[in-house]
């Protein structure tokens, strides 16, 4: 069952023969003749489709703008966006959005500077930006048009300002500080999620991992003594842990169970992907392992998870997990068994205290990790074996050659497929409604349970929800196609 390997089937645009590069620009008449009435059957098709498209366009525009009843959406826009998120804590979401725009702006600025310096970046005109992000812009415009106050507009303007500032900060960063700037960008992204989850528990681990990685790279670049290369990350992990214990750093979290609305769809995607990526790498490595036991376990995990629909796994998390982990006082009579199972008890106690949303997101992570493992496997296979031989010839060990030779090349090859998986994960978050988690589609049901909107505007709310999903998936898929084309060009 090795069917889903990353394959370059989607070239960015269908080439049409009639679009041959002509030296002079065509007039409107010539264009119509060449593209609509070049053959007799094309003329027939054009007229038939003109009638069909005209009728469809007429009715949909009439519905969308004139006859549609958008009151259910307009009245409940906040509910659709953040669901039952505690209103007193709304500032967390606002701050999160600002931090993420800042982080993305900085990253884009740094990337552009780097690409320009390497002479790789094609001129990004305003026209191109409009072509790439029109769906996202349309979503924001629609949301603003549906609001009842001007505060969201101010918020969006602030986000745009933040993006612009951070973009130019990134563009103007001197070359010696790019490492620091990338670190800050990634840190902002991680912190934006810790604002939701709070700094207690294992939140520090993500920041620590990022910091240790950055310092490790810096030490490697500066060619420090080996002991420093190992010590510096270790010290930084301890330092981050210390910082997170400081009283004025600590913030209380919002429980998972309060995440909801469209915000949950987006957050769940990011969180599940963040868990699934490392798990997927481990599984892919396990599948390549020379130890048969580990190989069989990985293969079993991957194939079972891929063969079962996500709904089944979500029900597993909802109905089955309780039976697995909630444990009555089992081995209280037997000291030996009691001692052996203490670590397992700790684990299962932790899991059984998870709310339904946390379980659902974990299940989605498990589901995605199996697909990610297959994508990574394809990526590892795409690295020519000569690379591995060359690394061996230079004298690199198995581990070092994997980290510095195989992995970077494989990672670059799998980015488009990973974005595709992220899109599919994002679309799959709509399934959470079936286990009664209040994501956006479930909010729609809540709205139609309200006294005023019972059976009113069923189509309108559904179109709104679908449009929210569509705008984000469409933008991501276009970006991934561009990326794929770019990577493909670089490969040649």
């Amino acid at each position: 069952m090795t069917l889903t390997e990353p394959k370059n089937l989607h070239s960015p645009k269908p080439e049409r023969a009639s679009h041959a590069k002509s030296p002079h620009k065509k007039t409107a008449e010539e264009w119509i003749k060449a593209n609509l009435f070049n053959r007799w059957y094309n003329s027939v098709l054009t007229i038939a489709f003109l009638a069909l498209v005209g009728v469809l366009a007429f009715f949909s525009v009439r519905f969308l703008i004139f006859t549609g009843n958008w009151e259910p959406v307009r009245e409940n826009l906040t509910l659709f966006m953040i669901g039952k998120f505690p209103r007193a804590n709304q500032w967390r979401i606002l701050l999160q959005v600002q931090l993420i725009t800042f982080s993305i702006g900085l990253a884009v600025g740094i990337y552009l500077t780097k690409a320009r310096a390497a002479g790789k970046a094609s001129a990004t005109t305003k026209n191109l930006i409009y072509k790439r992000f029109w769906a996202l812009a349309l979503l924001i415009v629609v949301l603003l048009a549906l609001t009842k106050s001007f505060l969201p507009l101010l918020f969006v303007l602030a986000a745009i300002a933040g993006f612009t500032i951070s973009f130019w900060l990134g563009r103007l960063t001197p070359k010696s500080l790019t490492g620091l700037a990338s670190y800050i960008s990634a840190l902002c992204f991680i912190i934006s999620f810790q604002i939701l989850s709070g700094t207690g528990g294992t939140a520090w681990a993500f920041t620590a991992a990022l910091t240790a990685f950055s310092i490790f790279r810096l030490a490697h670049k500066k060619e420090l003594v080996l002991i420093f290369r190992i010590l510096a990350p270790a010290i930084s992990i301890a330092a981050v842990y210390g910082i997170y214990q400081l009283p004025f750093i600590k913030i209380e979290g919002i429980g998972w169970k309060d995440w909801s609305g469209f915000h949950l769809n987006l957050t769940a995607t990011v969180v599940a992907l963040a868990i699934a990526l490392p798990l997927g790498i481990l599984l892919a490595l396990g599948r390549r392992s020379s130890l048969p036991v580990i190989r069989y376990i990985s293969v079993g995990y991957i194939e079972i998870v891929r063969g079962v629909p996500l709904i089944g796994l979500l029900f597993f998390g909802n109905l089955f997990l309780g039976f697995l982990v909630e444990q009555p006082d089992l081995f209280s009579g037997n000291d030996v068994l009691h001692a052996i199972t203490i670590p397992l008890r700790f684990l299962t106690d932790k899991v059984s205290s998870f709310p339904a949303i946390a379980r659902a997101i974990l299940v989605m992570a498990v589901f995605t990790s199996a697909y990610m493992a297959e994508i990574f496997r394809g990526g590892f296979r795409a690295v020519p074996s000569g690379q591995h031989d060359a690394a061996k010839a230079v004298g690199l060990g198995r581990f070092t050659s994997f980290i510095w030779v195989t992995f970077p090349q494989a990672f670059r090859a799998i980015i488009p497929a990973t974005v595709g998986q992220a899109i599919s994960l994002f679309k799959d978050t709509s399934l959470l409604t079936i286990i009664a988690v209040t994501e956006i589609l479930h909010v729609r049901e809540i709205v139609h349970g309200q006294r005023d909107f019972m059976g009113v505007g069923i189509a309108e709310t559904l179109i709104f929800v679908s449009f929210a999903f569509w705008a984000i998936s469409y933008t991501m898929s276009k970006e991934s196609q561009l990326l794929e084309a770019k990577l493909g060009v670089e490969k040649r």
Partner: protein, 404 residues
């Protein structure tokens, strides 16, 4: 491999590997044993059965659209109905999606700007919306906002010259003309199964004969012709098992009689999944047609457009498109589990929602559901892969014999 041939004492790495594996097996075993213990204890605490005995006990519930199903029948009969419903939605969905996807994929490459643009809007719209939204959309568009429970005259389509209903439309069902079974249905289908196997054998025989002698094979003509003639004979042998039946409304105007009545859940699930998957298949079709080197199409300039596609482009593109298409079929089969949202009694809904709601033990139900879906996925990928292999090897053989 070389490790295992060496002496234990000479190779410390080999010992380490064995120790690691034994440790892993031990840990996993411990985990499973511990969790299994938890399950059985929890089941006992909640007074639920620990085995699979619940399968043979009466269900105490009825299944929508299966009037033949009785609440006194054992639960495994309900599971069979669930499998039948899942496969029915999946196979019909696959058929529609393949046809629609191929047409849209080819339309995207049309030289007609309007046709290509319409096709690409179709693809980009349905590809980027969650299938669940499409299912709910179809259900809302066709049934919830459609006519009311009692049949309204305006939604009955009649054929000219015949005083029979062609299409009946209510808010729960759409009825088409269908076949009503009587007589020996089981015998008829067994005969058809035998005939199909014989037809496949004829297909393979013609192919081999073609390779051996070089004479034109006409394998589709031979095998399909045989199957048609055989099923006619079988129809007579089984004493006309099916009659044609028009849909009609009962005297009190509340029930559908005759014809083939598709339920709201089934129609919205199948149509939605077919549209969603068609948008993916269209991309595959377009990608695989574009992956054929330009030289091929230039070399086919001597042929007309139909011949070029029929004999040069499509056969090559078809081979490229098989593996990703099988993976889309698998996705569609798994997505039928979304029928829960429109109350379609597929296997997941029957086991997990209706079954567990009727006090069936959840762990066993979920394990059974996973096993059934795994089996379905395995069957589809097995059929697909063996078809792929057969097809490819056939092509290779042809090339080989032509060169020889």
């Amino acid at each position: 491999m070389s490790d295992s041939q060496r002496n234990w004492g000479q190779n410390p790495w080999f010992v380490l590997k064995v120790v690691i594996q034994v440790l892993v097996v031990g840990l996993v075993g411990l985990l499973f044993w511990y969790l299994g213990n938890n399950i059985s204890n929890n089941l006992n605490n909640k007074n639920l059965p620990t085995g699979f005995g619940f399968l043979t006990e009466p269900t105490n519930f009825a299944i929508t659209d299966n009037q033949g199903f009785d609440s006194t029948l054992p639960f495994w009969r309900a599971i069979l109905i669930g499998i039948q419903n899942t496969v029915l939605a999946g196979l019909i969905g696959i058929a529609i999606a393949t046809v629609l996807g191929t047409i849209v994929g080819i339309a995207r490459l049309s030289t007609n700007w309007l046709v290509a643009k319409t096709a690409s809007i179709f693809v980009e719209t349905f590809r980027n919306i969650p299938p669940l939204c499409i299912i709910i959309f179809f259900s809302a568009a066709l049934f919830v906002s459609g006519p009311l429970p009692i049949f309204s005259k305006s939604y009955i389509v009649k054929l000219p010259f015949i005083n029979e209903n062609f299409l009946l439309f209510s808010n729960r069902r759409i009825a088409f003309p269908g076949l009503a079974s009587d007589g020996n249905v089981a015998l008829f289908w067994w005969l058809i199964l035998g005939g199909a196997i014989l037809a496949i054998a004829i297909f393979i025989y013609r192919t081999f004969k073609h390779i051996a002698t070089g004479a034109s094979h006409h394998r589709w003509l031979w095998s399909l012709g045989f199957l048609i003639v055989f099923s006619m004979v079988a129809f007579i042998i089984a004493d006309t098992p099916y009659r044609f039946s028009w849909p009609s409304i009962s005297q009190d105007g509340r029930l559908l009689i005759g014809g083939f009545a598709a339920s709201a859940g089934y129609l919205s699930l199948t149509l939605a999944l077919a549209t969603y998957t068609a948008s993916h298949i269209a991309e595959i079709v377009r990608g695989s047609i574009q992956s054929i080197p330009k030289g091929q199409s230039e070399a086919a300039y001597a042929l007309n457009a139909f011949q070029k596609y029929r004999f040069i482009i499509l056969p090559q593109a078809f081979r490229v498109s098989i593996p990703p298409t099988i993976s889309q079929y698998l996705n569609l089969m798994k997505n039928t589990s979304l029928g829960i949202a429109v109350a379609y009694p597929d296997i997941a809904a029957l086991l997990l929602v209706i079954g567990v709601g009727n006090k069936n033990p959840a762990p066993q139900s979920i394990l059974m559901m996973m096993a059934i879906y795994l089996a379905l996925s395995l069957i589809i990928s097995l059929v697909g892969n063996s078809y792929n292999k057969l097809f490819l090897s056939n092509e290779l053989k042809k090339v080989a014999t032509q060169r020889a």
